[in-house]
Amino acid sequence: MEQYTNRKYIIGGIILLLGLIFTIKLFSLQVINSSYKLSAESNTRRMEIVYPARGLIYDRNGLLIAHNLPSYDLKIAPYELEAFDSTELCRILGIDIQTLRDAIQRVLRNPAERFNPLIKQLSPEIFGILKEKQFMFPGFYFSTRTLRKYEREIAGHLLGYVGEVDSSIIIQQPYYELGDYYGVSGIEYTYEKYLRGEKGRKYKLIDVHGRERGSYKEGKFDTDAESGRNLTVTLDADLQEYGELLMQNFTGSIVAIEPKTGEVLVLVSAPFYNPSLLVGRERDENYNELKNDTLMPLFNHAIQALYPPGSTFKPVNALIALQENSVTKNTTYYCDMGYHARGVNIACHNHVSPLDLVHAIQHSCNAYFCNLFKLTIEDKDFGSVEEAYSAWRNHLIDFGFSDPLGIDLPYEKGGFIPKPSYYDRYYGSGRWKALTIISMAIGQGEVLTTPLQLANYAATIANKGFFFTPHVVKSIEGIDTLNQKLMISHQTGIDTTYFNLIIEGMELAVNSPGGTATWIRHGDIIICGKTGTAENPHGKDHSVFMAFAPKNDPQIAISVYVEHGKWGATYAAPIASLMIEKYLTGTIDPSRKWIETRMLNSNLLNEK
């Protein structure tokens, strides 16, 4: 019977072994591994973020464009929830019962959702009603944040909009946490780190149901929120509004720049949208509507659309030819209703002939510029066509026609000036010359520019040879110096005297009989301009105009594109002249009201 007594040692041994294993495991859990202490802290400590108000946005004249309004998130403390009148709550919130039920289930079912809002961004009106009746809804509480409010509902593309961060942003920039807002586009994006301010934090002790149990360590770690910095943009809000009015029935853009500084006065991309649409609870819905609109209102034509410059390209071709001594101001050419040479035929309109350089610009003579371009590209001073072409191309790069200019807005596109290798691939090395690419003489063919580059080009001519990088922010509150890059002038390397010839030609084009856009002439302001017609293989040509004024002390340089507007003089030129007049005189003279009326009554939105 007692033969199994030894088994007590085995059983006892197992018990001791178990005690040992437990003790070792407890030692590793409680003493060695410290991560559980941190987890415990994060369990019982709730950080409440105090959201700062975003910086305000003013125009160049100190007019308020954008500020903030409080908005309220509705939250629930699950444990304190009691039966409530859901019909009444739905009525106040303006949602149906199923939406409310789903939202409550989402918060109750998933511990990760514990502190997330039930309903986001209630308007102050709804908040007011609900706050009054809060006693009817135990367990519901609010948290406050701010939303953009636009005093002037203009310049949506330039201002951009604010959205909720997604996980990719959080991974890139640890500052952000789920539920934070950040600038998605426009200056809200570029100047996000100034506009956003600094979040404040308050630490609260909580239990598993999210009920507050006092502040953590007597608020030792709490910080206050710091408001964002106010921004002054270079925009002229009144002029921008007027530009949007003029473009209401067109697709295209207006870009106006102050030549002396590179400050962007107007940046209209049509069709445009009201920035207030992309704020608040309806944001997603409106965004999708805008996104699916076939007219593409979200697309920023001013800095993203690529068009051929058309005849507005002629002045720069002339400047390069003069600089490279391919022509002089006295070089004249006959025009036999166009340019005809070895299989190349480029038509021209009826005008006096022959013309010298200044008058060729005035009349926008195609034949003259084809000849001029041929002389430039086949200049005997260079070893080959390719070298002459490269020299020509480098001049264009100096004018800012190639890469993006570097405006302080996101997603700017650069233009396209083909490299010699592009033609080598196409025609074979040494197998192309001026006539092969002659359409670039008149701004057609492969060359493409953005409206911003064209406006910058107008500013460069106004400055007689240099430009500042176009930019939209004038000053940031509390920051003394803006980006130094904006303060450096970019030189084109072309003699000032040559610019005088071009300016004279552009003056005649608007102000002298026989010019291409004389009907938009202003009695008091000398506008120097150049019309263009951008060939459009997909439909009607685009109307283009670039100009600056006044001639002797340029205050504004402008480019206008009106898609499907056909001739530069038909739409783009009058719009530019109205903009210039409005900017320089503050009003439209009664004698020119008919031009404005004609523009407002035109509609090309359905043109193809």
Binding site: T5, I15, L18, F22, K25, L26, S39, N43, T44, D207
Partner: protein, 474 residues
């Protein structure tokens, strides 16, 4: 009077002191978790600590009763009590009330009684009575079967409630059988089955069968030191594999490695059996049968796991085995439990300072997860001391058991040790993440009247038997 005095002096006061320490410690932790300054007066049965205090008093009343009753009573009453227990278990299935989806409770006015807590006690009594009987022989299959039946009847009825945790507690009684001479091989067999069970869940059946084959082959070779047979089998299996490869390559046989493995195994087994029959090699016979049984077992595991276990039980096992991870789902309890214990650090946060348990991050923090409060508020020092006390009590009970002259008392003592050990191991093990979450209480600490009363009676019957060990001989 004389009898009373001698009885008092024969009581094992060390066990009693350890018991009182545990009971007091348990109550303090229940108080720490549930006390709030807003609570009304102490004497309100709304509060768990007050309820538990009342149950402690009730338990002690029963302790007094146990010492008044003649010690032989417990042996005589074993069978009727067992019958009553079985009746209660049947009754609870019919008239019981479901709490947490288990029909385990009988509601009697203000108190809920859980019969399964008491049937542990009567099962130990009957087992002790039966095993200590004159005619009982541990090597007689019929006797072993009856002993197992005594355990399986209540276990099976509890399984029907269903209460998985309370059911497997009865498995602990194997320890008693082992002490009384159950062949170690049977325990080893059960252990191997348990390992195979776990392996079936973790690795594919294909790999498992391969591992079993290797294990059997190596075991046989090592035991019998006959390498030639092993080599013959390997060669044979190799040839078969080659044949099947050729067949599969020519599309003459389905491309199913699983089927092929089974066929090769089958053919090898039959060949081995024939060889064993001719050479009269009994061991080879045995080993081949074990192998076939083991392979058959892997199939039944799949069935039990997928058809008999409940989804939450499967999930908990999967979490422990690392097969599923879902911090806000099934793993949530274990994770919060480990956070609470881990955050206690070396010396703990102090009495009533535990934030994790107090703010209710840990589920069931007064009942099944009471050890979290120990870990959080008393730290490693407190937890280790608690484990020392508990282990001390268990070892002390073994020593008491071994000093019994009566077989009945010894077997009963081992029964108490087995049940307490199992509860302790599984309960503490689950809170620190070593075992799956199985809802069984920590004896003497967890909140709950039935369990406190049942464990106290269970323990003190043994202390009573021990106190009269010198007079009581059956």
């Amino acid at each position: 009077m004389k009898r009373q005095i001698s009885l008092l002096s024969n009581i094992d006061w060390l066990s009693v002191i350890l018991y009182v320490i545990l009971i007091t410690f348990g109550w303090l932790n229940i108080f720490a978790v549930n006390y709030s300054p807003n609570n009304s007066t102490f004497f309100s049965l709304e509060h768990r600590y007050t309820m538990q205090f009342v149950w402690i008093l009730v338990s002690w009343f029963f302790v007094l009763l146990i010492f008044v009753i003649d010690s032989r009573f417990f042996s005589f009453v074993a069978y009727p009590a067992y019958g009553l227990g079985i009746l209660l278990l049947v009754a609870v299935l019919i008239i019981g009330t479901a709490i947490h989806s288990s029909k385990s409770w009988i509601v009697l006015g203000p108190v809920n009684i859980q019969p399964s807590e008491f049937t542990k006690l009567v099962t130990i009594l009957v087992l002790a009575k039966y095993l200590s009987g004159y005619n009982f022989k541990m090597n007689r299959a019929k006797n072993i079967l009856v002993a197992l039946l005594i355990v399986f009847i209540p276990a099976g009825l509890i399984m029907l409630q269903p209460d998985f945790g309370s059911t497997i507690v009865y498995g602990a009684l194997l320890i008693v059988l082992y002490r009384e001479g159950l062949h170690g091989g049977i325990l080893l067999f059960i252990l191997i089955m348990a390992i195979i069970f776990l392996l079936t869940l973790i690795i594919s059946q294909f790999t498992l069968i391969l591992i079993l084959l290797c294990a059997v082959a190596i075991a046989y070779t090592v035991l019998k030191k006959r390498v030639a047979i092993l080599l013959t089998i390997i060669l044979f299996a190799g040839i078969l594999t080659a044949i099947f490869s050729v067949l599969v390559a020519h599309d003459l046989f389905p491309h199913d490695k699983y089927l092929i493995l089974l066929l090769i195994t089958g053919i090898c087994c039959i060949a081995s059996l024939i060889y064993a029959f001719i050479t009269k090699a009994r061991e080879l016979f045995l080993i081949v049968f074990i192998l076939i049984a083991a392979i058959g077992f892997t199939y039944s595991v799949d069935y039990v796991f997928n058809n008999i276990m409940k989804e939450h039980q499967r999930n908990r096992i999967n979490v422990i085995l690392g097969l599923e991870s879902d911090p806000y789902g099934y793993e949530y309890n274990v994770r919060q439990s480990k956070i609470a214990i881990g955050s206690g650090g070396f010396v703990g946060k102090g009495f009533m300072q535990g934030t994790q348990t107090k703010f209710r991050f840990v589920p069931e923090q007064s009942t099944d997860f009471i050890f979290c409060t120990v870990g959080e508020e008393w730290g490693f020092l407190g937890s280790a001391a608690f484990i020392l006390v508990y282990i001390g009590l268990l070892i002390r009970l073994i020593l008491l058991g071994e000093r019994q002259r009566s077989k009945f008392s010894r077997i009963y003592g081992y029964g108490v040790v087995s049940i307490l050990l199992f509860h302790f191991a599984v309960n503490v093990g689950m809170t620190i993440g070593l075992f799956p979450v199985i809802g069984i209480p920590l004896p003497f600490l967890s909140y709950g009247g039935s369990s406190l009363l049942a464990f106290t009676i269970m323990l003190f019957i043994f202390i009573r038997l021990d106190a009269s060990r010198k007079t009581y001989l059956l």
